[in-house]
Amino acid sequence: MASVEQANSGGENRGRKKNKWQQRKRIGFHIDMTPYVDVIMLLLTFFIMTSTLNQPQVMQINLPKGDENTTVKVDMGNVVFIRVSEKGNIGLSKGKSDGTEEQPIKVNLEQLNQYIEKWGTQNKDMIMILKFHRKAKYDLMISVLDEINRAAIEKRYSFSKMEEPDFKVLEAIGG
């Protein structure tokens, strides 16, 4: 490249006189960028590897304040029981105003969402009581809570301990 340019300028010199600025053509130089790029690439790789892209999310839970012994009286007609058995079956049943409850139905997560959304829009005072078997998996608990959060209703739920009568209810849907 440089030799070509020099030959050119030499030829022009022989001819008519040129502008002072055009005559002095600077020889182009270039920096070898390869080591620079190598370092940059290393840095880039490091940051890509160490960055955590999906920041975990959180599910906000508010437990009721107050003592274990403070009981709140609720109308059984507004209560919906969601029970989760050891095997991971979900039993859903509605309470009746006389203190008893309807036959439980076995649902999957999607049906659970549909039922509570339907019942929640029919009855604005609906309260969900969640009873989980101690040996059931935490993953399922989050899924159930997620379905409740996803439903377009007012979310009122409370956690409750699973007791002897609950096991009997769960047996009706296959344990």
Partner: protein, 195 residues
């Protein structure tokens, strides 16, 4: 000039400038967004459950993390070393409690806790429920006096943990008047495939 000149191939130089520009942009992006993993995250591994519509992000500072692994252990940790030093007497220690008396704590075998099989941080075990409750209260009080900010509580449970352990922890939280806390979840990405 000789009639036949050796044809010298002109050296080809690719202009790297635009390439470097782009790389630099990407590099800047990653430097700015980088958040280094907390020490705890690598020490006790849990598989987070997925959830679909939680939009709140995990708070970055002043967090008390309660990790539940699949062996039913509860680990309590705060992100501030001063608070740790103050409450546990060791700046890098982590507190552990196993609520279920019928099973063995998982931390007895370090291979249970992470892939590496070693714990970088010393574990301070709590046998007594009341002492563990006091620890949680102490963490919050210490944070208030040392940092001037209250702790936010996050519960990081393993997918395969028993709900019983989570319930025990929830009882403890309730008894220590920590009624606001959050469960850490991963965003559900393949939600449609699942259904």
């Amino acid at each position: 000039m000789p009639a036949i000149k050796k044809r010298v191939r002109p050296q080809q130089a690719i202009d790297m400038t635009p390439y470097v520009d782009v790389i630099m942009l990407i590099l800047t992006f990653f430097i700015l967004t980088a958040q280094f993993k907390a020490e705890l995250a690598e020490d006790i591994q849990v598989k987070l459950p997925n959830s679909g519509n939680d939009t709140t992000k995990l708070p970055e500072r002043n967090v008390m993390t309660l990790v539940i692994n699949k062996f039913g252990d509860i680990f309590a940790d705060v992100d501030n070393t001063k608070v740790r030093e103050d409450v546990l007497g060791d700046a890098i220690a982590i507190a552990a409690y196993h609520p279920d008396s019928t099973s063995q704590p998982g931390w007895l075998n370090p291979a249970n806790l992470n892939d590496k099989g070693t714990m970088k941080r010393p574990i301070i075990t709590f046998k007594d429920r009341e002492k563990f409750k006091k620890l949680l209260i102490d963490f919050r009080l210490s944070s208030k006096s040392n940092v001037g900010k209250d702790l936010r509580i996050v519960v990081k449970g393993d997918k395969d943990a028993d709900i019983g352990t989570v319930q025990d922890l929830m009882d403890i939280l309730k008894e220590t008047k920590n009624t606001r806390f959050s469960f850490v979840t991963d965003l559900e990405t393949d939600e449609k495939e699942k259904k």
